[in-house]
Symmetry: C2
Subunit: 463 residues, 2 copies
């Protein structure tokens, strides 16, 4: 029997996150800020717009002048500074974003004007007819109307996305304090595991799927990654790899394999000798032998290295990474809400329950008004035409997430993670959970890639 108490996944997640502290701040340039988490608030050093700015191409006017024909006394162009006071009875040409000249209090867009041929006036004098009276302030952005000097534009803890890069540029924040990116070392274990390039395989060999996959997963989470290769089942090999992870100053070491009950499963004994194992068995399918330890590195000032011992089966590794490692990497990187996001989804097929462990069932979520064609639920849900007729009446109503199982869920079959964007939380019980049941689903991939249902998703009525 295993010496480790079986705990639940929520307990495991709590333990890991309680032992995870955000990494300290480093300074990066704006070009490297995407995806990082701000370590300090960002304030605006000046107002935007910094001057009253025209919203349109047209003419800066004195609103009380109303309609009529006026001399054009000059031009205010974006980026050019002219001393151009507009007195009553005159106007100035102005371009979008340009400063509204002193004296003018409104802008009339060019579409509401027409050029007038010089007639009787001084040679070359430009005149324009204003066809629509302006209200004071019309088509002018007052100073500071978008951002006021001193405004907090982004907070510490925010993840920098595309728009945030633009906001940072707007306020001149070109050097930023962000949380350091975690350094993650990845190691596979086992005598049977060979490099993916091996072709043909020798007898008894299998290719190492986990290392490439976990390196990709850590990189996608924003980590710096270190490939530690494969540790053979020989005395000293695993110790050497652990020492390498320490020497590289990894914040996190992820191993796969070597944590089950075989007598060559050396990961747990090593972690017990060199650190503290916080859990070594988790009530989950797949992934039961999942192990988590922390090491205090005396020769590096007592800094902490976290070690996740993932099971060797690739699906178990994949699921454990998402459920337990990913939230830790996010918290290290500064995320304030590192947990996976949960939505509800409707099953498209029956799922046989496991009487011993709750299951994290790989599935592909689709936003649709009916179960996707070819699923068990589609067979009982009425024909596509009927559904389309109903849809015509109800527009966006009736749309929801449908969860399409990726098929056989055995933990060695990595094809069960192909195209999966969610882990369904399937209770531990006897019997079957029927198609049509609503379950919770943890998002593990960007829904911007989810399949598009036949016929698409309708737009807002009237759009």
């Amino acid at each position: 029997m295993s010496a480790y108490k079986m705990i639940s996944i929520p307990e495991a997640q709590d333990i890991v996150l309680s032992l995870t502290q955000p990494l300290g701040a480093v300074t990066v340039g704006l070009a490297d800020a995407l995806g990082r988490v701000l370590a300090e608030d960002v304030k605006a050093p000046d107002s935007l717009p910094p001057f009253p700015a025209s919203i349109k191409d047209g003419y800066a006017v004195v609103a009380s002048d109303g309609v009529g024909e006026f001399p054009v006394i000059g031009e205010s162009r974006a980026g050019r500074l002219d001393d151009l006071p507009v007195r009553p009875g005159t106007v100035a040409y102005i371009t979008t974003g340009a400063p509204v000249p002193p004296g003018a209090d409104a802008v009339v867009q060019v579409e509401d004007t027409e050029a007038v041929q010089p007639a009787g006036g001084a040679a070359g004098e430009r005149r324009v007819r204003i066809n629509k009276a302006a209200k004071p302030g019309q088509d002018i952005r007052p100073v500071g109307s978008d951002i006021t000097e001193g405004d907090l534009v982004l907070r510490a803890g925010e993840v920098v996305g595309v728009a945030e890069v633009g906001i940072l540029a707007t306020v001149g924040a070109v050097q930023l304090a962000v949380h350091a990116a975690p350094k993650v070392a990845v190691l596979s274990t086992g005598d049977e595991v060979v490099d993916p390039a091996t072709r043909p395989l020798g007898q008894g060999q299998i290719r190492d799927a986990n290392r490439a996959m976990l390196l990709a997963a850590a990189a996608r989470a924003g980590a710096q990654v270190v490939d530690l290769g494969v540790a053979r089942d020989a005395v000293g090999q695993l110790e050497g790899c652990l020492a390498a992870a320490i020497e590289q100053r990894a914040d996190v070491l992820i191993t796969s394999g070597g944590v089950s009950m075989g007598d060559r499963d050396l990961v747990k004994p090593l972690l017990e000798r060199q650190g503290t194992i916080h859990f070594g068995r988790v009530r989950m399918k797949p992934g039961k032998p999942l192990t988590f330890a922390t090491l205090s590195i005396a020769e590096q000032g007592g800094r902490q290295m976290m070690v996740f011992g993932l099971p060797g089966n690739p699906v178990s590794s994949f699921v454990c990474f998402n459920l337990v490692v990913l939230p830790a990497l996010r918290k290290l990187a500064g995320w304030q809400r590192p947990e996976l996001r949960r939505v509800a989804a409707c099953l498209t097929s029956d799922i046989r329950l496991d009487p011993e462990r709750p299951e994290y069932h790989r599935a592909t979520l689709v936003w649709s008004c009916e179960p996707p064609p070819g699923t068990a639920a589609a067979a009982t849900h009425g024909s596509s035409q009927e559904a389309a007729a109903v849809e015509g009446e109800k527009g966006l109503a009736g749309f929801q997430f449908w969860a399409v199982s990726t098929g056989n869920q055995i933990s060695s079959r990595l094809l069960s993670a192909r195209s999966a964007n969610a882990l369904l939380e399937i209770p531990c019980d006897s019997g079957v959970l029927r198609a049509g049941s609503v379950v919770s689903a943890l998002l593990i991939d960007d829904l911007g890639l989810m399949p598009v249902p036949e016929g698409g998703v309708p737009m807002t009525p009237g759009f």
Copy 2:
């Protein structure tokens, strides 16, 4: 008046995608495959497992032997090859993933056995008691049960995610044909636009938000990016930048600014001279002057360069990038469904309709059973306690996307894109669309970052 016919966004998207062809194939190593799109099918060169493999740590047995005490004739370990035939009346120790020795037809997990002290036998002979009879095939993965030699494991057109990296490693696909990543050059225009590092601003100047933002957006979409700086409103500058984009062999040039109706708006005239403008005005808010052209580069074998002339206001740029440029970049990169994904969401506040143009309203989607606190809808939706009581009864039912507006939507205010993960499709009409209305929402950011509602989202009942 503009010379360009006003078209709708769906028309603009159709025009752009009809003129976009996926880029040709290049070969990349597995370590660089994440996020790329496969240009050819991937087949398995061999079966997985390649041998009958044990699912457990335990003993390989002859099932018909049933329970009893047996000599352990040897060990089959993962990665080691022993000639170890198991005859009736004997067993072999076996570890997870190891080949099942010839003669054995089942595995009994170690938890269902106990070691027996040698007694009367030859010194050192190992014996074990099997406490639970095995069925034939028990805890054995037959050859090819996960993947059969010749199976199509991934198809051309699939986006390589984390799991797919593992699948590719499994089948030894370490060199891959993927679609080339588009090369995207980004240029800002205008005399008023200065480098983001400028502090303090000179009179009439604003910082260039668009270039950093669009470079980040293109990079996130997987493009190689080229920063072409800022083109001033002087004769020849814009021509020079266009020539630079051609010389760099950019597939796509994105400009911002210079496309509205001002007399220094030089982008459209230049594109008319050097290529074909397919549209120059789109019925949308924000983003009306959005321009799209293609150039045929004679001196480069007639290859096509696409040019997107985005408006200068940063929000217009942001929205136009997502709606029109991003799908084109995805199609160039090989995506089979490049369009933004659409879901339905419930408004949390009233939205004033625009009588002239449909609006793409920036919002943050939250998956919740009630409108987020502080929104207008929350005030009328009943207290949080009441909702919690209802929630307790209905579990996952009643959860949906709620759309929280990012506030003032003026196109100069980039803060309206802060934390936005969706563009709401708001119809062109008079009056107000009320809180509680259901609208379509285009996903523009990973929902894995969406805000978590107070109290979280419940798990499947019984989980």
